[in-house]
Protein backbone atom coordinates (compact mmCIF):
# COMPACT_ATOMS: atom_id res chain seq x y z
CA UNK A 1 0.00 0.00 0.00
CA UNK A 2 1.17 3.46 -0.78
CA UNK A 3 1.82 6.00 1.88
CA UNK A 4 -1.65 7.41 1.92
CA UNK A 5 -1.95 9.56 4.94
CA UNK A 6 -5.67 9.81 4.36
CA UNK A 7 -8.00 7.52 6.15
CA UNK A 8 -11.17 6.95 4.23
CA UNK A 9 -11.92 3.41 5.17
CA UNK A 10 -13.96 4.35 8.16
CA UNK A 11 -17.48 5.22 7.25
CA UNK A 12 -19.75 6.57 9.91
CA UNK A 13 -22.21 4.24 11.50
CA UNK A 14 -25.80 5.29 11.24
CA UNK A 15 -27.20 7.19 14.16
CA UNK A 16 -30.80 6.62 15.38
CA UNK A 17 -31.85 9.78 13.57
CA UNK A 18 -30.82 8.12 10.35
CA UNK A 19 -33.35 5.34 10.73
CA UNK A 20 -35.67 6.72 8.10
CA UNK A 21 -32.78 6.57 5.71
CA UNK A 22 -32.34 2.82 5.87
CA UNK A 23 -34.32 2.55 2.67
CA UNK A 24 -31.85 4.82 0.94
CA UNK A 25 -29.29 3.39 -1.39
CA UNK A 26 -25.61 3.79 -0.95
CA UNK A 27 -24.30 5.31 -4.16
CA UNK A 28 -21.26 3.83 -5.85
CA UNK A 29 -18.25 6.10 -5.43
CA UNK A 30 -14.76 6.51 -6.80
CA UNK A 31 -12.25 8.23 -4.58
CA UNK A 32 -8.80 9.15 -5.71
CA UNK A 33 -6.04 11.23 -4.36
CA UNK A 34 -3.53 13.37 -6.15
CA UNK A 35 -0.81 15.56 -4.71
CA UNK A 36 -3.17 18.52 -4.49
CA UNK A 37 -6.61 17.15 -3.80
CA UNK A 38 -8.92 14.34 -2.94
CA UNK A 39 -11.67 13.72 -5.48
CA UNK A 40 -14.93 11.95 -4.70
CA UNK A 41 -17.09 10.89 -7.63
CA UNK A 42 -20.55 9.48 -6.91
CA UNK A 43 -23.21 8.03 -9.20
CA UNK A 44 -26.58 9.60 -8.42
CA UNK A 45 -28.83 8.83 -11.37
CA UNK A 46 -32.12 10.69 -11.25
CA UNK A 47 -30.93 13.30 -8.79
CA UNK A 48 -31.11 16.90 -9.95
CA UNK A 49 -29.40 19.90 -8.44
CA UNK A 50 -32.42 20.77 -6.31
CA UNK A 51 -32.63 17.30 -4.81
CA UNK A 52 -29.01 17.06 -3.81
CA UNK A 53 -27.82 17.96 -0.37
CA UNK A 54 -24.18 17.99 0.57
CA UNK A 55 -23.06 18.40 4.12
CA UNK A 56 -19.65 19.09 5.57
CA UNK A 57 -19.79 18.99 9.33
CA UNK A 58 -16.34 19.07 10.83
CA UNK A 59 -14.79 16.16 9.04
CA UNK A 60 -17.92 14.32 8.03
CA UNK A 61 -19.03 14.51 4.45
CA UNK A 62 -22.68 13.68 3.84
CA UNK A 63 -24.08 13.06 0.40
CA UNK A 64 -27.83 12.92 0.27
CA UNK A 65 -29.86 12.85 -2.91
CA UNK A 66 -33.56 12.44 -3.40
CA UNK A 67 -35.03 11.23 -6.62
CA UNK A 68 -38.14 12.81 -8.06
CA UNK A 69 -41.30 11.01 -7.04
CA UNK A 70 -43.23 9.61 -9.88
CA UNK A 71 -46.49 7.74 -10.24
CA UNK A 72 -45.79 4.19 -9.21
CA UNK A 73 -48.03 2.37 -11.56
CA UNK A 74 -48.04 -0.74 -13.63
CA UNK A 75 -44.47 -1.82 -13.39
CA UNK A 76 -43.96 -4.78 -15.64
CA UNK A 77 -40.33 -5.06 -14.79
CA UNK A 78 -38.42 -3.28 -12.10
CA UNK A 79 -34.77 -3.18 -11.18
CA UNK A 80 -34.45 0.06 -9.29
CA UNK A 81 -36.68 1.98 -6.95
CA UNK A 82 -37.20 5.65 -6.32
CA UNK A 83 -35.52 5.70 -2.93
CA UNK A 84 -32.91 8.37 -2.45
CA UNK A 85 -29.18 8.04 -1.96
CA UNK A 86 -27.32 8.50 1.27
CA UNK A 87 -23.70 8.02 2.23
CA UNK A 88 -21.31 9.50 4.74
CA UNK A 89 -17.55 9.60 4.87
CA UNK A 90 -15.01 10.52 7.49
CA UNK A 91 -12.61 12.90 5.89
CA UNK A 92 -8.98 13.24 6.82
CA UNK A 93 -7.84 16.32 8.71
CA UNK A 94 -5.44 17.68 6.17
CA UNK A 95 -8.01 19.12 3.77
CA UNK A 96 -8.87 22.71 3.13
CA UNK A 97 -12.63 22.27 3.26
CA UNK A 98 -13.37 25.92 2.54
CA UNK A 99 -12.14 25.40 -0.98
CA UNK A 100 -14.30 22.38 -1.70
CA UNK A 101 -15.96 22.43 -5.09
CA UNK A 102 -18.86 20.30 -6.27
CA UNK A 103 -20.19 19.63 -9.73
CA UNK A 104 -23.26 17.66 -10.70
CA UNK A 105 -23.55 16.58 -14.30
CA UNK A 106 -25.67 13.84 -15.86
CA UNK A 107 -26.31 12.25 -12.49
CA UNK A 108 -22.65 12.16 -11.50
CA UNK A 109 -21.41 14.21 -8.58
CA UNK A 110 -17.76 15.24 -8.57
CA UNK A 111 -16.44 16.68 -5.33
CA UNK A 112 -12.97 18.14 -5.24
CA UNK A 113 -11.49 18.54 -1.79
CA UNK A 114 -8.20 20.40 -2.00
CA UNK A 115 -5.51 19.50 0.49
CA UNK A 116 -4.33 22.06 2.95
CA UNK A 117 -1.09 23.67 1.90
CA UNK A 118 0.79 21.93 4.70
CA UNK A 119 -0.28 18.52 3.42
CA UNK A 120 0.93 19.03 -0.10
CA UNK A 121 4.28 17.65 -1.08
CA UNK A 122 6.84 20.38 -1.41
CA UNK A 123 9.81 20.44 -3.60
CA UNK A 124 12.87 21.82 -1.94
CA UNK A 125 15.44 23.38 -4.12
CA UNK A 126 19.00 22.56 -3.28
CA UNK A 127 21.44 25.34 -3.89
CA UNK A 128 24.88 24.27 -4.79
CA UNK A 129 27.69 26.53 -3.69
Amino acid sequence: MKDNALNLNKENKQTPADKDRTAFLSPAVDIYETDNALTVVADLPGVGKEQLELGLDRNILTIEGRTAREPESNHLYREFGTAGYYRRFNLPDNLDLDRTTAELKDGVLTLTLPKAAAAQPRRIEVTVH
Binding site: L38, P45, G46, Y77
Partner: protein, 148 residues
Protein backbone atom coordinates in the same frame (compact mmCIF):
# COMPACT_ATOMS: atom_id res chain seq x y z
CA UNK B 1 -59.59 -22.75 -33.87
CA UNK B 2 -58.72 -19.31 -32.58
CA UNK B 3 -57.49 -18.87 -29.06
CA UNK B 4 -57.55 -15.63 -27.15
CA UNK B 5 -54.20 -14.90 -25.59
CA UNK B 6 -55.46 -13.52 -22.31
CA UNK B 7 -52.48 -14.55 -20.21
CA UNK B 8 -49.91 -12.95 -22.41
CA UNK B 9 -48.79 -10.54 -19.74
CA UNK B 10 -48.15 -13.06 -17.03
CA UNK B 11 -44.61 -13.89 -18.02
CA UNK B 12 -43.42 -10.48 -16.90
CA UNK B 13 -40.24 -11.70 -15.29
CA UNK B 14 -38.87 -13.50 -18.28
CA UNK B 15 -38.78 -10.41 -20.43
CA UNK B 16 -35.20 -9.69 -20.01
CA UNK B 17 -33.59 -11.44 -22.89
CA UNK B 18 -29.99 -10.80 -22.78
CA UNK B 19 -27.51 -9.08 -20.65
CA UNK B 20 -23.90 -8.53 -21.28
CA UNK B 21 -21.78 -6.47 -19.08
CA UNK B 22 -18.08 -6.25 -19.38
CA UNK B 23 -16.08 -4.40 -16.86
CA UNK B 24 -12.88 -3.77 -18.69
CA UNK B 25 -11.89 -0.90 -16.49
CA UNK B 26 -10.90 -2.81 -13.42
CA UNK B 27 -11.44 -6.42 -14.31
CA UNK B 28 -14.17 -7.07 -11.79
CA UNK B 29 -17.87 -6.62 -11.36
CA UNK B 30 -19.59 -4.80 -8.56
CA UNK B 31 -18.74 -6.22 -5.20
CA UNK B 32 -21.58 -8.49 -4.12
CA UNK B 33 -22.18 -6.44 -0.99
CA UNK B 34 -22.74 -3.37 -3.07
CA UNK B 35 -24.97 -4.94 -5.64
CA UNK B 36 -28.49 -4.67 -4.32
CA UNK B 37 -30.79 -7.62 -4.85
CA UNK B 38 -31.76 -8.45 -8.37
CA UNK B 39 -30.32 -7.27 -11.60
CA UNK B 40 -26.92 -6.84 -10.07
CA UNK B 41 -25.16 -8.00 -13.18
CA UNK B 42 -27.38 -6.17 -15.59
CA UNK B 43 -26.19 -2.82 -16.72
CA UNK B 44 -27.87 -0.45 -17.06
CA UNK B 45 -30.62 -1.16 -14.61
CA UNK B 46 -34.03 -0.59 -16.11
CA UNK B 47 -37.66 -0.22 -15.13
CA UNK B 48 -40.43 -1.01 -17.55
CA UNK B 49 -43.87 0.49 -17.00
CA UNK B 50 -47.08 0.36 -18.93
CA UNK B 51 -49.84 2.89 -19.38
CA UNK B 52 -52.90 2.69 -21.61
CA UNK B 53 -51.09 4.51 -24.38
CA UNK B 54 -47.49 3.43 -24.10
CA UNK B 55 -44.63 1.53 -22.54
CA UNK B 56 -42.06 3.50 -20.60
CA UNK B 57 -38.50 2.37 -20.09
CA UNK B 58 -36.23 4.11 -17.63
CA UNK B 59 -32.57 3.28 -17.45
CA UNK B 60 -29.93 4.40 -14.99
CA UNK B 61 -27.02 5.69 -17.04
CA UNK B 62 -25.16 8.26 -14.98
CA UNK B 63 -22.30 10.07 -16.62
CA UNK B 64 -22.83 8.87 -20.14
CA UNK B 65 -22.70 11.07 -23.19
CA UNK B 66 -26.19 10.66 -24.68
CA UNK B 67 -24.74 11.08 -28.16
CA UNK B 68 -22.57 8.02 -27.65
CA UNK B 69 -25.56 5.93 -26.69
CA UNK B 70 -26.81 3.55 -29.33
CA UNK B 71 -30.45 2.54 -29.32
CA UNK B 72 -32.12 0.35 -31.90
CA UNK B 73 -35.48 -1.36 -32.15
CA UNK B 74 -35.83 -4.48 -34.19
CA UNK B 75 -38.78 -6.85 -34.12
CA UNK B 76 -39.99 -5.82 -30.70
CA UNK B 77 -36.57 -5.81 -29.07
CA UNK B 78 -34.96 -2.62 -27.96
CA UNK B 79 -31.19 -2.77 -27.80
CA UNK B 80 -29.22 -0.28 -25.81
CA UNK B 81 -25.47 -0.11 -26.00
CA UNK B 82 -22.70 2.28 -25.18
CA UNK B 83 -19.63 2.76 -23.16
CA UNK B 84 -18.82 4.43 -19.91
CA UNK B 85 -15.35 5.84 -19.93
CA UNK B 86 -13.10 5.54 -16.93
CA UNK B 87 -12.35 8.73 -15.08
CA UNK B 88 -9.09 10.46 -15.74
CA UNK B 89 -7.27 10.54 -12.47
CA UNK B 90 -3.85 11.62 -13.65
CA UNK B 91 -1.09 10.17 -11.54
CA UNK B 92 -3.07 9.93 -8.35
CA UNK B 93 -3.93 6.82 -6.37
CA UNK B 94 -7.28 5.15 -5.82
CA UNK B 95 -8.92 4.90 -2.45
CA UNK B 96 -12.15 3.45 -3.73
CA UNK B 97 -13.29 2.32 -7.08
CA UNK B 98 -16.89 1.17 -7.14
CA UNK B 99 -18.25 2.80 -10.27
CA UNK B 100 -18.38 0.48 -13.22
CA UNK B 101 -16.79 1.43 -16.46
CA UNK B 102 -16.59 -0.22 -19.82
CA UNK B 103 -18.83 -1.26 -22.65
CA UNK B 104 -22.35 -2.45 -22.08
CA UNK B 105 -25.22 -3.81 -24.07
CA UNK B 106 -28.70 -4.67 -23.08
CA UNK B 107 -31.66 -6.01 -25.00
CA UNK B 108 -35.18 -5.44 -23.72
CA UNK B 109 -38.17 -7.26 -25.10
CA UNK B 110 -41.11 -4.95 -25.68
CA UNK B 111 -44.31 -6.79 -24.69
CA UNK B 112 -46.58 -5.65 -27.51
CA UNK B 113 -46.60 -3.94 -30.85
CA UNK B 114 -45.48 -0.33 -30.78
CA UNK B 115 -45.57 2.61 -33.12
CA UNK B 116 -41.89 2.80 -33.99
CA UNK B 117 -42.22 6.19 -35.69
CA UNK B 118 -43.35 7.82 -32.45
CA UNK B 119 -40.72 6.50 -30.06
CA UNK B 120 -39.14 9.26 -28.01
CA UNK B 121 -36.10 9.17 -25.76
CA UNK B 122 -34.67 11.80 -23.49
CA UNK B 123 -31.78 11.89 -21.08
CA UNK B 124 -31.71 13.95 -17.91
CA UNK B 125 -29.76 13.72 -14.67
CA UNK B 126 -28.30 10.40 -15.67
CA UNK B 127 -31.66 8.81 -16.39
CA UNK B 128 -32.68 7.69 -19.85
CA UNK B 129 -36.43 7.72 -20.47
CA UNK B 130 -37.81 6.01 -23.51
CA UNK B 131 -41.48 6.33 -24.38
CA UNK B 132 -42.78 3.67 -26.73
CA UNK B 133 -46.33 4.46 -27.84
CA UNK B 134 -48.44 1.38 -28.40
CA UNK B 135 -49.70 0.65 -31.86
CA UNK B 136 -53.38 1.49 -32.36
CA UNK B 137 -54.21 -2.19 -32.69
CA UNK B 138 -53.11 -3.03 -29.14
CA UNK B 139 -54.61 -0.04 -27.33
CA UNK B 140 -57.75 -0.62 -25.30
CA UNK B 141 -60.78 0.43 -27.27
CA UNK B 142 -64.16 1.33 -25.87
CA UNK B 143 -67.00 -0.18 -27.78
CA UNK B 144 -70.34 1.50 -27.74
CA UNK B 145 -73.27 -0.76 -27.04
CA UNK B 146 -76.37 0.06 -28.93
CA UNK B 147 -79.55 -0.19 -26.91
CA UNK B 148 -82.42 -1.21 -29.08
Amino acid sequence: MTRLDIFKDMDGFTREMDQIFRDIGFGRLLEPALAPLMGARSYPRINLRETDESYLIEGQLPGIDPNALEMTILKGTLTLSGERKAAEKGNGSWHRRERNTGKFMRAIDIPAEIDIEKVRADYQDGLLRVTLPKAQSVRPKRIEIQAN
